[in-house]
């Protein structure tokens, strides 16, 4: 579902990688050897997910764009450290993207804004702000369905921590729930999602 993007023309013109999209792992190993065409393919595979996640956590489109760019530079720089036996390319990239976005929102001013939001008890639910339905419809529906199988506390904990970048301590404050409870709900919720989404090894 991420294959047919209008801006894949460059690789096509070069006539090198125009046939069928390669498996992400294969693309990664070429990126690790410094192949810029392969990197362009990697960008096309990941850009919407990486940007979408960062935007979701950071809220501000200009900052999200800046951080997305940093993430792709990091993916390029550390490509040789990617270990296929430790997880998929998408998971690797999204972990880096999420970490970057979170580091940014937890620092300085944005952190103050967030503290104010925590104090004011403002929060939103995972999917209320998701407006566009461009691609990944199936994946999105599947995630939505699986989130529906969680308890309210599991879903809220996972949503606040993952989509809004709160620490589990902050989540506990927001939900007025003991720390240990949030910790286990986060894990239980993710495990239930894992099983529902069919992520297993």
């Amino acid at each position: 579902m991420h294959a047919a993007k209008p801006h894949r023309g460059k690789a096509g013109q070069a006539g090198l990688h125009a046939v069928a999209p390669a498996a992400p792992e294969e693309t990664m190993s070429r990126v690790a050897r410094g192949d810029e065409h392969a990197f362009a393919q990697l960008y096309d595979l990941l850009a919407e997910r990486v940007f979408g996640l960062i935007l979701r956590v950071m809220r501000d489109p200009a900052q999200a764009e800046e951080v997305t760019q940093e993430v792709f530079v990091e993916l390029w720089r550390t490509a040789s450290r990617f270990r296929p036996d430790r997880g998929s390319v998408v998971s690797w990239a999204m972990t880096i993207a999420h970490r970057r976005a979170i580091d940014r929102v937890r620092s300085s001013q944005s952190s103050l804004d967030r503290d104010a939001r925590v104090a004011a008890g403002q929060q939103d639910r995972p999917f209320d702000a998701v407006a566009d339905e461009v691609e990944g419809r199936f994946e999105r529906q599947q995630v939505r369905r699986c989130l529906g199988t969680l308890t309210d506390l599991q879903r809220e904990s996972v949503g606040l921590a993952y989509y809004q970048g709160y620490t589990y301590g902050e989540v506990a404050t927001l939900l007025e729930t003991p720390l240990g409870t949030v910790k286990t709900r986060l894990r239980d919720g993710l495990i239930r999602l894992r099983d529902c989404l069919g992520v297993a090894k």
């Binding site: 690790a32 410094g34 810029e36 990197f39 362009a40 960008y43 850009a47 919407e48 997910r49 940007f51 979408g52 935007l55 979701r56 764009e65 997305t68 760019q69 792709f72 530079v73 390029w76 720089r77 040789s80 450290r81 430790r86 997880g87 998929s88 998408v90 998971s91 999204m94 972990t95 993207a97 999420h98 970490r99 979170i102 566009d132 461009v134 691609e135 990944g136 994946e139 599947q142 995630v143 996972v158 921590a161 993952y162 989509y163 709160y166 620490t167 589990y168 301590g169 989540v171 910790k183 286990t184 986060l186 894990r187 239980d188 993710l190 495990i191 999602l193 894992r194 992520v199 297993a200």
Partner: protein, 242 residues
């Protein structure tokens, strides 16, 4: 394994730990294969949550990124995986023996202190049981012929064996907490088959058992609470004694 820290896999996988907890958990992660696997799976799961909010970035981002990486040097590959500290079997020298003994004592004491905090009434009983066990453990660890037997990956646990004392100490690695109606049971396996060497009351606390004359292997299985006459499941730990 410390069951308390294990529940942090979820928060860790989605970057919901404070910096301090994060470092502490990463230290634990390096020694806990079960945790690493779970973290990897939960990260895959989280990646799907992230993919569900995919949004097209501005058109200008692609050429910007592609231009920028041309000026960035890539890191060289890692030089192979990290070599585990322990091999399959090796005799212990006095210094490393002292370190191993200290580590075992620290683990046992740490766990016990936590549970005593929770239940002060039982503190005295536990303390004397602990002192007893500590004495037995120290005895095995300090035996002149003590040697360590560990898994290749050293994950599920290791043994310290003293032929002279006819005893072994099992130091559990990362055994998950058994279900409420189950327990870990230790076995010594010889030519005659398996013989129970007792239960493992707490999967994070070391225990001492008698070896007996003909034992060739040591194993741990999950059994119904109270233990079984004979093993009824595949061993989670299986180590050759010689």
């Amino acid at each position: 394994m410390n069951a308390e820290i294990h529940t942090l896999t979820g928060a860790y996988a989605i970057n919901a730990l404070s910096e301090t907890e994060r470092s502490a958990f990463e230290e634990h992660l390096a020694r806990c294969a079960a945790c690493s696997k779970e973290v990897a799976e939960l990260r895959e799961t989280a990646a799907k949550l992230g993919s569900a909010v995919a949004t097209p970035p501005p058109e200008s981002l692609r050429p910007d990124v592609l231009a920028r990486i041309r000026r960035v040097r890539q890191l060289p590959p890692d030089e192979g995986p990290i070599v585990p500290l322990r091999g399959r079997k090796w005799p212990l020298r006095a210094t490393s023996l002292a370190a191993a003994a200290a580590a075992v004592v620290a683990i046992a004491l740490g766990i016990q202190v936590i549970s005593m905090d929770r239940d002060l009434d039982r503190a005295n009983d536990q303390l004397s049981a602990l002192t007893d066990r500590q004495a037995q453990l120290s005895g095995v660890l300090a035996a002149p012929d003590a040697r360590v037997i560990a898994d290749d990956d050293d994950v599920s646990g290791s043994l310290v064996v003293s032929e002279k004392l006819g005893k072994l100490a099992f130091v559990p690695g990362t055994l998950p907490e058994p279900a409420a109606d189950e327990t870990y049971q230790l076995w010594l396996i010889g030519p005659e088959g398996a013989r129970s060497a007792g239960l493992l009351p707490d999967p994070s606390v070391s225990v001492v058992a008698e070896i007996g004359a003909d034992a060739e292997m040591f194993g741990v299985t999950v059994e119904p609470k109270g233990g079984s006459e004979q093993p009824t499941s595949d061993p989670v730990v299986l180590l050759a004694l010689s």
